[in-house]
């Protein structure tokens, strides 16, 4: 928590919208269309939907009841096995000149839950920043030559997406620690992306690709 940032954001918000306090809305008497009113009638009840929170997701109570019922059937009568691998859904976005990738979990599960392995610090570098929250762990490394490397590990694969500017970039699909990934280079920035069934990994920096590959190798675990 940063007190000064929070106070300043509050001041900025008040200042930015202070004009509304004495504002005479030219559309105060605007008559919304019948279509709009009709659509709003279907939107209003959604504010009253009953939700339950599971971790960081919110789902409707009725859906949760159905899921619990299915779970109960599975536990009492059926073999119940979680199966998942990461599927990379790739789509070339010609309008933006990017490759857009989203992820889904399906398939065969690993034999045991996997710990998160942080990379070894490359020679000549020191850790200059670390950040973690419920979803990700980020480390920044720097060296005296002005090179920086960012390592980011996220555990929310299904809600992630990446958008790679692949115009004029060097880009290839590769395998990193036995998992599918990408190796990417553009304008002096090199990057590696890969995912196992639990985490999404990212290493990027204005350093040599070999440095990133060595760091990635150190994250394979034992």
């Amino acid at each position: 928590m940063n007190k000064n940032l929070d106070i300043s954001l509050k001041c900025a918000l008040e200042k930015e919208f202070s004009w509304i306090n004495d504002f005479e809305n030219p559309y105060a008497g605007y008559a919304f269309s019948s279509q709009f009113k009709s659509n709003m009638e279907s939107i209003i009840p959604r504010a009253g939907f009953t939700y339950v929170s599971i971790g960081n997701k919110r789902i409707r109570k009725a859906l949760l009841a159905a899921l619990i019922a299915l779970l109960a059937i599975a536990i009492t009568g059926c073999a119940f096995t979680v199966h998942y691998v990461v599927e990379w859904n790739e789509k070339q976005n010609d309008a933006q000149g990017t490759l857009d990738v989203s992820f889904e979990l399906s398939g065969e599960s690993p034999s045991a839950p996997r710990d998160m392995f942080l990379p070894s610090t490359p020679q000549g570098y020191v850790i200059t920043d670390q950040y973690s929250d419920d979803f990700s762990y980020t480390i920044t490394y720097s060296n005296p030559q002005g090179h920086e490397i960012l390592c980011s590990i996220s555990n929310d694969i299904e809600n992630m997406s990446i958008s790679l500017d692949n115009e004029g970039a060097s880009f290839e699909k590769t395998t990193i620690n036995g998992q599918k990934g990408y190796a990417y280079s553009k304008d002096g920035i090199n990057a590696l992306f890969w995912a196992d069934s639990i985490y999404f990994y990212e290493l990027q920096g204005n350093c040599e690709m070999d440095t990133l590959l060595t760091m990635a190798g150190s994250m394979a675990g034992i």
């Binding site: 000064n4 509050k10 919208f17 605007y30 709003m40 209003i44 490397i149 002096g188």
Partner: protein
Amino acid sequence: MLTLYLTLIDAEEDKIKFIKLYEQYRHLMFYIAQKILHDEHLSEDAVQESFLRIAKNFHKIGQILCPETRNFTVIITRNVAITMINHSNSNATTDFYVESALTNPSEDVFEAVSNKLLTESILKLPEIYRDSLYLYHLYGYTFNEISNLLSISVESAKKRVQRARRILKDLLEKEGYRHE
């Protein structure tokens, strides 16, 4: 490991509260949308979409008649309208994943400057980044919730907040502040 907890919402109370929000702010939201879109049909679509997103994330709305809630509706409507106009201009805001500036500023940077300078710098941020900071730091929304409110991926929500901090640090440095 899943943590299961129940949050029960009184459906009827929330519907009444939402209707109050709708009646109080729909014209203001229409004005905001119209300023950006200059088209009454599109502005109605933007207002409708904004209310839909707010309805899906209604659990954190406090009092209806307060500047905080009023400003929140403006932020959401503004973002919806800008997204609509960017899509129609084939100029959608895209969170490019790889950038040349990589550092995520330490929180000490913002503690060391004056409130006045920091406030002025915040107001210079592009709206999409400034709004992400408002939603995350002031309104207390998680990245998941911000992704639902702004119809972006969770990763993009995280990146916007990180990028906002980075740009803010750059603005402070241009004003002559240096963090050792």
